[in-house]
């Protein structure tokens, strides 16, 4: 089976997903276990594939044995392998987190939830490792459809949010499809590597610009690039906690990765990517400021985090737009860091709402007593979002600033600095409410009683606390090991021809 690692990454979650309704009929525990096992296999396969790719160069896997451009290939290079590892790992953690979260729902809904969740993970994994632009579209749709339903699972508000996301998301997918349609019309190929070879010879400037813009806008909507982020705050803030945790952590990142992949690996020699990236850069800079300011204005923790995501996704876009080595280091590192950090933060927000029913920051008084471990992790993750050492966020921001300085883009430097301070404002606000504010008089008594009961109890079920703490440790570890990650993985993920 070792020879099939690239396929296993996607196939096992997919196959287990489609059989989960049957397993769920037999026993819901069986469905849970098989889902976890599938994601574990995906994780191990990604690790194996990544290792292979690092040792022996990128790994091309031909489906059905047909060589590209006729067949579909999976390409495991350090970048896609690394991202697949990340997606499957976070997928696994969130799955574990979801189990107690869904315990009150009927078994059948649980089954459907796990099925769709696995499909969503499998779709994202497929997007990551594929080397074929049309295959990317198919998997984009799998993950999106699953995500619409999972978001709508959060209640009536979520249904509207999910529907709006469906409209925007499908339009985005259509734009992307049209974009690759143009590429197909110009070259006759759908394979990324083949396209990259054929496109420079194509003399069709207008059509190429249209294709690039369509692809970038299409995927830009999916990654919630400002000003195409309209769907995100509602969707993130009304979906069930595990779903938000997962899609906020990885879904937008995978689209960001796809933009990077297509701009730098497919369109790199055509010159149109540069135009598109310039556009993206300024959009991103505006988005960073907008997202941060909107986040400050929110009282609902979930919405605050959602707007923070808008800003942070723009960090990634900014790094990609810079297009120099440090910028891309920063962007790719930030994909990793933000996935872990924001996933962690949303899981924490979800746990708080699950345990106490509180979403409003102003009611967070004494939260540090109710959930000491969770809030400790929150602080670590918040520091990472702000970009303070030694957490992960610092290093990605450092590379972004380095890239901006190197490119002489002082506007970006100013934006990054301002954004750090704005981020600090809204995260320290939460921390102060949780740690420093005293509850109102009546509540204080009630709290004391609760505390005396809870002192003997673990704050959250272990399967909810464990993912949170693991991600929190991850935030610190990624910070300490950031150079190692760059030297071992990200360095090889740069497009060809770069230093």
């Amino acid at each position: 089976m070792t020879a099939n690692y690239p396929a296993l990454i996607v196939i096992i979650p997919l196959a287990v997903a489609v059989i989960t309704p049957v397993l769920g009929r037999i026993s819901i525990v069986l469905a849970q276990l098989s889902a976890a096992a599938a994601l574990l296999v995906a994780f191990i396969s990604s690790l194996g594939a990544l290792q292979h790719a690092l040792a022996e160069g990128s790994w091309h896997y031909y489906f059905g044995g047909w060589a590209p451009p006729w067949g579909i290939e999976y390409v495991i290079d350090p970048l896609s392998g690394g991202l697949a590892t990340l997606v499957s790992f976070i997928g696994l953690l969130v799955l574990i987190y979801a189990v107690p979260h869904l315990a009150t729902k009927p078994a059948r809904e649980n089954t459907y939830f796990y099925t769709l969740y696995l499909l969503c993970v499998a779709g994202l994994l497929g997007m990551v490792v594929t080397g074929d632009v049309f295959n990317l579209y198919v998997f984009l749709e799998i993950s999106s459809l699953a995500a619409y339903a999972l978001i709508a699972f959060g209640g009536s508000r979520a249904t509207v949010a999910g529907y709006r996301y469906l409209l925007i998301g499908t339009a985005a997918a259509c734009l992307y499809l049209l974009g690759i349609g143009y590429l197909y019309a110009l070259t006759g190929s759908l394979n990324m590597a083949d396209l990259a070879e054929l496109l420079p010879a194509v003399d069709a400037p207008t059509a190429l610009v249209i294709a690039t813009v369509l692809i970038v806008i299409g995927l830009g909507i999916k990654m919630a690039l400002f000003p195409l982020h309209g769907w995100l705050p509602d969707a993130y803030s009304s979906a069930p906690a595990p779903v938000t945790g997962f899609i906020a952590a990885v879904m937008a990142k995978v689209s960001a990765y796809a933009i990077y992949r297509i701009c730098f690996f497919v369109l790199k020699d055509t010159g149109t990517a540069i135009i598109a990236l310039n556009m993206v850069g300024w959009m991103a800079a505006a988005g960073i400021i907008f997202g941060s300011i909107m986040a400050i204005a929110q009282n609902d923790l979930w919405r605050m985090l959602a707007y923070s995501s808008v800003a942070q996704m723009c960090y990634i876009a900014l790094g990609v737009a810079l297009g120099n080595t440090y910028g891309i280091y920063g962007a790719l590192l930030h994909i990793l860091n933000h996935a872990v950090t924001k996933g962690c933060l949303f899981l924490i927000a979800g746990s708080i709402a699950w345990k106490t029913g509180i979403r409003d920051i102003t009611q967070f008084a004494k939260m540090c007593r109710k959930m000491p471990w969770t809030m400790a992790v929150f602080v670590v993750a918040a520091l990472s979002m702000i970009g303070l050492p030694p957490t992960a966020g610092f290093f990605s921001k450092m590379y972004l600033v380095m890239g901006s300085v190197e490119a002489g883009a002082w506007g970006y430097v100013a934006v990054l600095v301002a954004s750090s301070l704005l981020t600090a404002i809204y995260f320290f606000r939460v921390i102060e409410y949780a740690y420093l504010h005293q509850p109102a008089q009546g509540e204080a008594v009630k709290l004391e009683q609760e505390n005396s009961v809870m002192a003997r109890r673990w704050e959250l079920p272990a399967s909810m606390l464990m993912p949170i703490i693991l991600l929190g440790i991850g935030v610190l570890t990624l910070g300490v090991l950031s150079e190692k990650i760059i030297a071992d993985v990200i360095q090889f993920a740069l497009p060809w021809g770069m230093p």
Partner: protein
């Protein structure tokens, strides 16, 4: 092998030991004695480790370790050189005194939340040592930011409205400065890839003058906040709402000195004295520092709160260090480095006294302290020693550094700064003398009985008072601060030939 490994990585252990202590402290939330024992052990251990490096450094060796790579070409590089060791020795030694004092003070005042307090204290010390021993800008920056974060909870520790506001202000100032510093550091990294601190500077000729000027301004802004250079000083008096040990060790020694030490590093080891002259930024900074010295002293005159008065005094005194680095002549540099030491001992004594008075009698304003010299004679004796020293009276420690600064100004051909020093000394007398006078000769309404502070508060302040006297007579006493400072200055100026005076 293992011994060698241990010895070679001593700078790392020096940093880590209090981090480990912080974890131990957090794990023993309800066991007070273990918690406090851990603090003390870590303090003594840290001091021992740093002390063990002193002979080697004095002999001209440099102990360095690179446990981790932070960015391509840049490691987490810890290095014990003479300049860093001065600061490291100083803060670790004073941490021992403060730990003892801490235990007494916190038990007397019952603030609550003490686990977090001790843990943050330990982390802050870790990062202070990290700053002292870091061998490149990025390492320094990381510890610098950790220091900011670790001291923020200490500022708002009392959790009153005032304390929280003070914390806010502190955070806003330091985080904003940190970002500017980050930009400056990254720019430096781009201009001179992979460079670590080099005695005499490494930036010369690497970039156009205009760029270097902007960089210098960014560095000044970045370090200036922690070093409380006016007009960036405003957080420091506000931060005095923190418990007194925090003010004593962090707001007189570790945090603010981290900023001042940053100036020393930037002036001596990034730009180099020659380059600062060439780009013409020295006088600018020197005048900024001078203005700070005078204005802060004037402000101190008008403050009634003892701690706030001390805070403004700190603002003024810190600018001596900045002034010394800005004048950038060998003797001025020596004065600057030694003033880090001198001011630390003097000011910690004064803060300890203020804290002891507060913990014993709950008085915090100067006007309330009539006759307190009769009530707490030993404490006030120590306070008097500190005051005399800080004014710059000959044969006390403050004199040594000011003397050097003055000669440094002459050496650089800028005698005008001597006038500043003299004026400042007069003003300092102006705001310390009334305190001493009130304490001994003021008549209070109530009859005061002998009521000395308890031993855990008293002994630390007596020791530091004694040290600030002894160092005045023999600046090399015990820890060889003066020799280390001279060695640091020699290394900086040996590299840049052609400057007046050369070495010492």
């Amino acid at each position: 092998m293992t011994t060698e490994f241990f010895l070679a990585n001593r700078p790392l252990w020096a940093v880590l030991i209090s981090l480990v202590a912080a974890i131990v402290i957090l794990a023993n939330d309800r066991r007070h004695n273990i918690r406090e024992a851990a603090t003390l052990l870590a303090a003594v251990g840290k001091f021992a480790i740093i002390l063990s490096m002193m002979p080697a450094v004095l002999a001209g060796q440099i102990i360095e370790t690179t446990p981790l790579t932070l960015a391509p070409g840049i490691a987490l590089h810890l290095r014990a050189d003479a300049c860093g060791l001065v600061f490291a020795l100083l803060s670790s030694f004073l941490w021992i005194a403060t730990s003892v004092y801490n235990i007494g003070y916190m038990r007397a005042l019952k603030y609550g939340h003490e686990t977090g307090y001790y843990a943050c204290f330990a982390v802050a010390l870790s990062s202070a040592i990290g700053i002292a021993l870091s061998a490149n800008l990025l390492t320094l920056f990381i510890f610098y930011e950790i220091l900011t974060l670790a001291t923020y909870p200490l500022v708002f520790h009392a959790r009153t409205k005032e304390a929280i506001d003070g914390g806010h202000k502190y955070l806003v100032y330091t985080l904003a400065a940190g970002q500017l510093l980050l930009v400056a550091i990254i720019w430096t990294m781009i201009v001179a890839p992979g460079a670590g601190f080099t005695a005499g500077g490494f930036l010369a000729g690497k970039a156009p003058v205009a760029v270097l000027q902007v960089l210098f301004v960014l560095f000044v802004l970045g370090f200036g906040v922690k070093a409380a250079v006016m007009p960036l000083h405003d957080w420091l008096p506000t931060a005095m709402v923190a418990p007194t040990p925090v003010s004593a060790l962090l707001h007189a020694v570790a945090v603010v000195k981290a900023g001042a030490f940053g100036f020393v590093r930037v002036a001596g080891f990034v730009f180099g004295p020659a380059l600062i002259k060439d780009i013409g930024m020295g006088p600018l900074l020197a005048w900024l520092a001078s203005i700070t010295i005078i204005v802060a002293s004037l402000r101190a005159l008008s403050e009634d709160g003892l701690k706030r008065r001390l805070a403004y005094s700190t603002v003024g005194q810190l600018s001596y260090v900045v002034l010394g680095t800005a004048i950038a002549s060998p003797l001025a540099f020596l004065g600057a480095i030694f003033h880090i030491v001198a001011h630390a001992f003097m000011k910690i004594t004064l803060f300890f006294c203020a804290g002891a008075i507060y913990a014993t009698t709950h008085k915090e304003n100067v006007s309330e302290m009539k006759g307190i010299g009769r009530q707490m004679p030993l404490t006030m004796a120590a306070f008097t020693i500190g005051s005399i020293a800080i004014v710059g009276t000959p044969f006390w420690v403050g004199f040594v550094s000011k003397w050097n600064l003055g000669f440094g100004a002459l050496q650089a051909g800028q005698p005008v700064f001597i006038a500043i020093l003299v004026l400042s000394a007069l003003l300092t007398t102006g705001y310390f003398f009334p305190i001493v006078y009130t304490a001994y000769f003021g008549s209070s309404e109530k009859e005061l009985s002998y009521h000395e502070a308890k031993p855990s508060l008293l002994y630390p302040l007596l020791i530091t008072a004694a040290v600030s006297f002894i160092l005045g007579i023999s600046p090399n006493f015990g820890l060889n601060f003066y020799d280390l400072a001279i060695q640091a200055v020699n290394s900086v100026f040996a590299a840049s030939s052609g400057l007046s005076g050369g070495g010492l």
